[in-house]
Structures are given as C-alpha cells and as structure tokens.
C-alpha cells in the first residue's frame, strides 16, 4: 500500500514537472520504466540527461528510475538489477551498452528492452557477426542526425564570409561521423545551388581516416587547440560534434571573435546561456523524445522491435532557431534552409 502510494506520488510529481495532464488512453497500463545509463552520470548535460528528462516527462509510467555506470563493467550488473526489480521496460542509454542489453534480452524474453543510439542487434556469441540479427524484445532508438546537420551545413556555408567552415568530432564513432557527413554534404549542396566553393575543414566524407577528432569526449584542451587551429586557417563557423567539448569551441568563439559555433545534441541556447552570443544554431537530437515514444509504445501495448528512427519528418531530430544571431543570417538563406528542411522531410532532397 505504502509503496503504491509512493509510486502514485512519483507519477503525479513527474506529471506536474512537465505540466501535462495524466490522461493516457483508457487501455494504457502504467509501466515501470528503468534506464541503464552510460558513463558520464545523469547530469552530463548530454545524452544521459536528455534520456532521463524524456523518461520523467513520459505519460503512462507508474515509476521511472535510473542507475549510473562508472565504467563498462557496470552495464551488465545494472541491467540485471533492473531485471530483479521487475521493470517492464529497460532502456540502455548509449550504443556502448547495446551488447549488455542484447545479452539480457535473450535471457529474459518477457521483458521489453530499448537501446539509445544503436539498433540493438544480436552480433552472435562472439560479438563479431555484422550487421547481426534483430532481437524480438529489443528496440533500437536511432536518429537521422545527418538531416538537420545537412541543414546546418547549408546555413553555415550561407553565413560564412571567409568561405571556410569546419567540423570535428569527439571520437570516430558512427553516431558522431553521421553529423559530420551531413554537415559536409550540406555545404556541398549549398555550393552546387549557389555556384560557390565554400570549403569544409576537418572532415571529408570520402576520406574518413583524415578526419579531425579529439580522441575522447573529455579533453577540453585538445578541443580548444583544434578550434583555434580552425580559426587560424580561416574558418568562421565551427561545428563540434563532441558533446560537452563544444564549450571549448564556443568559449574560443566568444574570446577570439573570429568564429561562431554550432551546438550539438540539444539547443545550446538553453543549455549554455553564457555562449548565446556566438551560437549560430544547434543540431538537435531528440533522445528524450525517442525515450518518451518507446515508453508510450509499451504502455499502450504497441511495442515492436522495429527500430525507432528520429527524422525531421517525425520531429525526432531538428535544427534549432538562430536565436540571437538571426539578424546576422541573410533572410534569403534562412528561407532556403527552412525550405530545405521541408524538402528533406518529404524526400525531395537526399542527404546521403
């Protein structure tokens, strides 16, 4: 009794936080959703935080909880803990946890699973079978982040006065390079339409080995030296695809006044208000939305193992507003970028 009361209070509190009325469809069951986080902690200002915020804002939950990880060794025991806790839905946050999620899913076919940033395929007992097989109770939550990045590349090329824009990544993971691909191709598309030759520093989709990477997602100094290097080569727009390391680039933009920064993952205007004056826009990856959507699927019994793909069309990914820099971006470019978004969503323009 006491426990159920606690759960109701929790659900009510979660509902209050987001200001939505708890009015799920009549057949919807309240579920217990559990998030196994990646390393970095729940307040990482990045994907862990987005996933947790999305889960808390969901309707159709009886309770939500999370467990942080200090290293990859925590993944399997954390998930096992959730199995023992009889969670209805276990969500692994981050592609690194995918293997542990699949292992647990194979052992517990009655529990539903999801994994952020990976398709959640079974790669065989040795983990070397690619692309692998789908698992009946694992749903991948993936994102076509190349779509908004394509728009960002177009906008950056249109904004640039030096004719040079730049991008770099944290580490050469597929979830990172997909942003850089989209960005570079967006610039190329701008060049084709406007018959210009804006150059992209740091990434060439044809030569992935020559891309610029920090090597991890912690090294602020390296990120800063990459950013100043780009500025010295004449880039006046920089797109760091390295989570919180974007702060190093934005800080340099603010200090050097030679460049502007495009923020990644969430809208930097809200997240890092100290850099508002140098943020051109943000490429938003709706991790929270995807988590919300899979929780709704389970509570309304519509869960399948077909991957969720966040696109411009379903608003799973988006390009943020220009906010304070709107008056510095030519109106014509703004219109073209807006139209480009519609064309990508309708399939008229391909970002591949």
């Amino acid at each position: 009794m006491k426990k159920s009361f606690k759960l109701i209070t929790l659900a009510a509190a979660a509902a209050l936080v987001v200001g939505v009325a708890v009015a799920p469809a009549s057949q919807a069951a309240k579920i217990k959703a559990c998030l196994a986080l990646d390393t970095g902690g729940v307040d990482d200002h990045s994907f862990n935080a987005s996933a947790w915020a999305g889960a808390q804002a969901s309707t159709g939950i009886a309770s939500v909880q999370y467990l942080p990880a200090t290293s990859a060794a925590d993944f399997a025991p954390n998930i096992k803990k959730f199995v023992d806790q009889k969670c209805d839905l276990i969500i692994g946050v981050g592609f690194a946890i995918s293997g542990a999620i699949v292992d647990s899913a194979n052992l517990n076919p009655t529990i539903k699973y999801a994994v952020v940033d990976d398709q959640g395929y079974d790669h065989g007992p040795k983990g070397d079978q690619y692309p692998g097989k789908p698992v009946a109770n694992v749903k991948g939550l993936t994102f076509s982040t190349d779509e908004p990045s394509f728009m960002a590349g177009y906008a950056a090329a249109g904004y640039s006065k030096t004719g040079k824009v730049a991008t770099y990544g944290g580490a050469p993971y597929p979830t990172v390079t997909i942003f850089m691909d989209g960005f570079a191709k967006g610039v190329a598309y701008y060049n084709k339409i406007h018959k210009k030759s804006v150059k992209v520093l740091g990434w060439d989709p044809a030569k992935p080995d020559a891309g610029t990477f920090v090597g991890d997602f912690q090294n602020q100094n390296k990120a800063l030296s990459i950013s100043t290097g780009f500025e010295q080569q004449g880039a006046d727009v920089i797109f760091p695809v390295a989570g919180g390391l974007g702060g190093a680039t934005a800080g340099q933009s603010l200090k050097g006044k030679k460049s502007v920064t495009i923020w990644v993952d969430s809208d930097g205007y809200d997240l890092v208000p100290q850099y508002r004056s140098v943020l051109l826009t943000s490429v938003v990856k709706g991790i929270g939305e995807s988590v919300k959507s899979v929780i709704t699927d389970v509570s309304t019994k519509k869960y399948t193992n077909a991957s969720y793909v966040g696109t411009l069309k379903n608003k799973g990914v988006s390009l943020a507003s220009y906010h304070d820099l709107a008056k510095k971006v030519p109106g014509q470019i703004q219109n073209e970028v807006r139209q480009l978004g519609k064309d990508i969503a309708s399939g008229k323009v391909s970002v591949k």
Binding site: T70, D84, Q85, Y173, G215
Partner: protein
Amino acid sequence: MNSLRKLGTKLSQVAALPFLSFLLAFFISGILIAVSDSRVLKLAGHPWQMIKMAGTVIGNAYLALFQGSIFDINLTHGHSFFQGFYPLSETIVTATPLILTGLSVALAFQSGLFNIGAQGQFVFGAIGASYIGFHYSLPPVLHLLISLAGGALLASIWGGFVGLLKAKTGAHEVIVTIMMNYIAGYFILWILKTKAFLRPGRIDPMAPEVGTNARLPHLAGADLRIHAGIFVALLAALFVWWLLTRTTMGFKFRSVGANASAAKTAGISIAYVTTATMALCGALAGLGGAVHVLGSEYAMTADIAGSFGFDAITVALLGRAKPVGTVFAALLFGALRTGGRTMQSNTETPLDIVLVIQALIVLFIAAPALVRYVFRIKNLKTSASITSKGWNG
C-alpha cells in the same frame, strides 16, 4: 591459550582504527542520507517525527546496502534459495581485482614506496591477458594460465621500469607512476583502434571476447558471476604474506621500508629492492587486470580499468598495508559498490553516497587524532609511519 589472547589483543589493536573510522563514516553518511531526503525535510516542524522518519530512511538505505551486497531474500522467490546470494557473488566479483591492485599498493608501502601506478599496471595486465586470450587458441587450463601469466608479466615490466628509473636516476616513483598512468590510459585507447585489437565490424574501441578456454571458470553455475579469480587473489595475498614474513627478500623489502639508510648500511642494495618491489607490484596489479578480463568482462574496452587502480590506494590504506587487511578492505569496498546499486534502485538514495562513505573512511584513517578524540581513546595504534614513507623518497 595465552597466545590466543595475545592474538586477540593484537587484532583489536590493529583493527580498531579502521573499524572506528568505518563506524564514523557510516554515521556521518547516515545524516547526509537523512537530510537529503524530501520526506525527512518535510517534517522539519515536528522534531520527534522527523527523527523517526530519518531513522526509517537511514535504516532502509543501509538495509538495501546489505541486501545488495550480501543476501537478498527477494531474489529467492521463484528461484532456488541459492539465488539469494547473487549479491554476495557480485561483491566478490568486484572485490577480486581490487584485492590484487590493493596488494600491489600495500606491498609498495611495505618497501617504503608509494605505488600510484596500479591503474596503469592494471591496464597492461588487461591488455596482455586479453590479447593472448582472444588471439590464440590453446588447450583448456594451459590457455588460462598463459593468459594470466602474460598479463602479469607485461604489467611487471611496466611497473618494474618505474623501479629501475628510481634506482638508476632517483626519479620519484609517485611522479613517474602518475605520469605512466596517463601513458597507459592513452595507450589502451590507441591500441584498441589498431587492427590487432579492434573487434571485426566495430569502429568503437572494443577488443574481441577472449576464448572460452582462457576464461576463469564460474564457481557457482552460470547464473552467478563469481569466478575462480577470487582464488587467484587469495593465493596472491598468501604469497605476499609469505614473501614479507618468511623470506630473505621480504625481510630486505621491509628493512628498506622501515629505514632505507640503515638497510643500506647493513648491505642491502636499495636499487635491487626498489626495482624488485615495483616489478612485483606491477605483476600484482597486472594480475588484477588479467583476472578482470578473463573472469567477468571477457572483452576489453578503453575504460576497462575503471577506478580499480585508484581505489586500491584507499583499500591498502584501510587494510593498513597488510595482506589480510587488504583482502578484507577490498571485500568491503566491493560490497559498498555493489550494494550502492540496490540502495539507489530500492530507496532512491543516490549511489554517490557510497563514494562519500569511502572518502570519509580514508579521511578518518589518515587523521587518527580525530578518531581518538571522538571515541576518547588514548592508545590507538596508527599506521601513519608505514603509509607516509613514499612521499619523502
């Protein structure tokens, strides 16, 4: 009978400080748990009810800590009674590498050295064991033994190099081991991206899983993760004890640890002791890395070392640089870590409280005067002499 009583007195003397520190740390953390709980804070106007609620909250949190680390009756529903010991198995799995890294730091303390490099040595142990484990196909037992030995050997070279540097050039081992931790950290990032280590089909740093013949066997069936690595760790503890108390080499180690100048005058080669100690420390921490990979993880990732090497310093301090003490301290830390998981998921007490407990334990052990003052004890035996040697070279 008399000797038994003597042993009892000695034990209570040696264990008093860690035990009291432990008690104090739990007390203070309990207050933190209570004041960070909204249900307690809501009762601020009613002191008596508030205290009662605080008691409940703290009690539940520590009960969950116990359930998550030793035995949980809830896990036996619908399963065998045995399954209730799953938390204990997890505790031992976490403690196993910690025992080995802890021994590495403790042994260095005994020789008057401060080994902060257990983290890097752990990494090299993991690299060696992982490579032999996945690259070669050998018969059972042999494959495991060679993988373990390979990891220990590689780490021993890595650690011994520090000792050699100190012996030949006087470079301080604290500085050198800290720097070498960085090198090891970046080295593993790099090597995981090379063709030899990268798992086919992946581009994120992750090695293939080690072969089944190279894995440490499970001790209690596939459901529990407890593996034979705990025996490796206990044997290593026994070895360190034997080495320190029963061999000439160990006597030399301890002599240098107690007073390097006197040892030198007595004809003990400091250079030899320093190099040998650091090589052995490296082997112990490397064995920790090997056991972690071959026992529970199977696949090596860039963060394979977690914080095993750094927690080892705390573990060795808590264990007063003695093999037996280190084993118990590591088990305690393993229990705190695994129990913290249940504490967070059952009672919503943040996992981070565990870090507070660990830090407070170290704080009190490092400041025995504080413990003496709180408990009004005059003759509390401290081990400050042995654990602060490394700093002054």
